[in-house]
């Protein structure tokens, strides 16, 4: 019996020790899942999948640089939402059930509204399964103003900030006198229109808005009648938040009709637009945080690495910036606990190749350098067969992009 007891004790000791090793190993390397909720099928699949590629690239970079701290690895979980708010909530529930504490999304402010609301409710009812929502491209200003939520962090300038910079540049162009405002008819497009009308009012006595128009998202094929209206109104500039086919077709129709007005856009730099629009887009302006060919820091190397690995144009710089800041926040907090990481992100400053960026503590909007650039020939081309690229015209410092906020976080943790 004594031998049996020794053997039993030996087994027990083995179990305990192996348990210690397993637990130790688990603590030694932790995987932090990041859920990407974006369209992977349906009408916007191309944009969603391009976003996925950028996040994979960003997470690989962050892991290779051990940005999140020793033993902390980020892992991407992809959840297809087909830009539907209902499906996004289903995906959010799935993510939470799978132990994901960080979600990111960008395609569609409509989805962003649904997600930020669901995240706030979830975190209130179920603090152990709290989720941090990192928004990389949904730019409706309400998300960091009247609909703000402490758990939501936005990494792209909101549409009012972009409009502010764009209109400042437009007003300074003395040869522009009549502006047409053209947008897609949904929450974002309407926010752009509102911002443009407000920020162009009474800026210069010889500058006025001569017309506004809206088109349903992705439904109109023939923009020639709209261009005809712009020409009839005598517009020499068009301010538009259009993206995707709606922007490509608009610029193409303008070139076909010999429309001489300049375009001032938010989303011209999407590779599909450049490849379709080609030389027709010459002179069109873009407000953005990054355009292909930017030479600050190691950006060109990043773009080249991305291109080599994914055979795609490097475009969504905000994804890389977001993952780097998430990694840095995890390291600063010393843990992957969403509340601690959220507190680390709150007010965090970070140095990226363009300069120093700050995550505002009062509304969780990132302040970063913005750039006005112009599509031109004779610059570093984006595609080998299309001799067009972006040329930087003006750089706006982060502090200048800051705008007043109405946000008073209803759910800021103590």
């Amino acid at each position: 019996m004594r031998f049996g007891q020794v053997v039993a004790a030996g087994f027990a000791a083995c179990f305990v020790l192996s348990g210690v090793f397993v637990a130790g190993a688990a603590r030694a390397e932790e995987t932090i899942k990041v859920g990407l909720i974006d369209p992977m099928s349906g009408a916007f699949a191309a944009t969603g999948r391009m976003g996925e590629q950028h996040f994979r690239f960003a997470i690989d970079r962050a892991n290779n640089g051990v940005l999140a701290g020793t033993g902390m690895k980020l892992e991407l979980v992809v959840l297809d939402n087909e830009v539907s708010p209902e499906k996004s909530l289903v995906m959010l529930r799935k993510a939470i059930d799978d132990g994901v504490h960080y979600i990111t999304q960008g395609n569609g402010s409509s989805v962003a509204y649904a997600l930020t609301d669901a995240v706030a409710k979830n975190n209130k009812r179920d603090p152990d399964r709290a989720v941090v929502y990192l928004n990389y491209a949904a730019v409706d200003p309400s998300l960091t103003n009247d609909k703000c939520n402490w758990w939501h962090f936005r990494f792209d300038a909101d549409s009012d900030m972009k409009m502010h910079a764009l209109t400042d540049y437009l007003v300074a162009q003395k040869d522009i006198h009549q502006v047409y405002v053209f947008n897609q008819d949904y929450s974002f497009g309407q926010a752009v229109e509102r911002g443009a009308l407000e920020m162009l009012k009474d800026r210069r006595p010889d500058l006025r808005v001569v017309g506004t128009d809206r088109v349903p998202l992705g439904k109109v094929k023939d923009f020639a009648p709209y261009i005809a209206k712009m020409q009839a109104a005598g517009a020499d500039a068009v301010v538009t938040g259009n993206w995707g086919v709606d922007l490509a077709l608009l610029v193409k129709a303008a070139a076909d009709s010999g429309f001489k007005g300049r375009f001032f856009t938010y989303y011209l730099q999407s590779p599909d637009i450049i490849s379709q629009v080609g030389p027709a887009g010459k002179g069109a302006a873009l407000i953005n945080a990054y355009f292909y060919g930017m030479a600050y820091g190691d950006l060109e190397q990043q773009a080249a690495d991305f291109g080599k690995q994914y055979d795609q144009i490097f475009n969504f710089w905000t994804a890389v910036n977001e993952m780097e800041m998430l990694g840095a926040a995890i390291k600063k907090a010393g843990s992957s606990d969403p509340l601690k990481v959220g507190k680390a992100l709150d007010g965090m400053t970070w140095k990226n190749p363009m300069g120093t960026v700050t995550m505002r503590a009062d509304n969780h909007q990132l302040l970063q350098p913005m750039f006005i650039s112009v599509l031109d020939s004779g610059t570093k081309h984006i595609f080998p067969d299309v001799n067009m690229g972006f040329r930087e015209i003006s750089r706006i410092e982060p502090e200048q992009t800051k705008m007043a906020t109405t946000c008073k976080f209803p759910n800021a943790p103590r």
Binding site: A43, R214, P225, Y226, A228, Q231, D256, D385
Partner: protein, 315 residues
């Protein structure tokens, strides 16, 4: 005056494009009773095949070859697919074409990628043909108009003047009788289906380089094609032409009307209170509602004349 000419031209081009797209469908629906959900997918295939051919030998060979390729594909689909499903009834055929549309969509994205492809207007036609005031009118659009008109004339002549056209028209209303008379009705069906798909393919070849060629193009135009077909009357080519021109012109005119609905109604003598009941409806600006116009017209025409403008098949 200048604006009026432009509206007319733009409306005509758009309407004729719709006609090209729906002429094949009206024959298919009229004759075979098959609601071909995949019709817009053949349009998309036409654009993609033309793009691929044009990267090797240029636009002009593509213009000839791509519709034939798409037509052949349509004929194959009918012969091996639809014919087997036909005996199970109209619902089965509808589901088959619906599934086909989804499959073609995904295969296209697999083959050519999810991004739009750089299918361009041929250099020979890429110049402004004339100017209306300060607006340039591209030569390619006039070419599109020309091809559509030629297509209508050819189709009409083929149906009205040739023996085959006679058989096709008879099979539209009396397929059993035509079969009794010794004609190979299934072969006629295959021909019509293939021909309809070839016409859709031709529309794709012409429009793909102006309106971008991407995997979503079928979905974008699918609904409006059905509106045109139903409005024009199932089986009637001239009905389809009339309906598409009407839709094209009315929609283009609506885009130019920057007035609210209550103001427009006021013009024709109907006074509504813009601040009272249904104020959200009266405040709608007509130019913003322009893309819904085809469907509103469809409802109107069906309410007045359920067979469509010149329908010859009521089931």
């Amino acid at each position: 005056m200048e604006a009026g000419i432009l509206v007319l031209l733009n409306g005509l081009v758009y309407g004729l494009l719709l006609f090209m797209l729906s002429s094949g469908l009206t024959l298919i629906v009229g004759m075979m009773g098959v609601l071909n959900f995949a019709h817009a997918s053949f349009y998309m295939l036409g654009a993609y095949v033309a793009y691929s051919i044009s990267t090797f030998v240029g636009f002009w060979p593509a213009l000839l070859v791509a519709p034939l390729v798409v037509g052949a594909l349509g004929a194959l689909v009918e012969h091996y697919g639809l014919r087997a499903v036909h005996r199970h009834g109209h619902l089965a055929e509808l589901l088959f074409t619906f599934g086909l549309a989804l499959i073609i969509g995904e295969l296209t994205a697999l083959a050519w990628g999810r991004w739009p492809v750089p299918y361009r207007v041929p250099v020979a036609l890429d110049f402004p043909l004339f100017h209306v005031g300060t607006t340039a009118y591209p030569a390619y659009r006039m070419f599109m108009m020309g091809v559509s008109v030629a297509m209508f004339v050819a189709l009409y002549a083929a149906l009205a003047r040739t023996r085959l056209g006679l058989v096709v028209r008879a099979a539209l209303t009396h397929p059993d009788m035509v079969a009794m008379l010794g004609h190979d009705v299934p072969k006629v069906f295959t021909l019509v289906f293939g021909g309809g798909c070839a016409l859709a393919g031709l529309a794709g070849v012409m429009a793909g380089n102006v309106f971008t060629t991407d995997p979503g193009m079928a979905r974008a135009l699918g609904a409006i094609v059905f509106a045109v077909v139903v409005m024009g009357g199932l089986g009637s080519i001239s009905g389809a032409l009339f309906a598409s021109l009407l839709i094209g012109l009315v929609q283009t005119v609506s885009i130019g009307l920057d007035m609210k609905l209550y103001a427009a109604l006021g013009y024709i003598g109907l006074h509504v209170d813009p601040h009272g009941w249904l104020s959200d409806v009266w405040e709608i600006s007509i130019n913003r509602a322009a893309p819904t116009v085809p469907f509103l017209m469809l409802i109107l025409i069906l309410a007045i004349h359920p067979k469509g403008l010149s329908g010859s098949r009521s089931s």
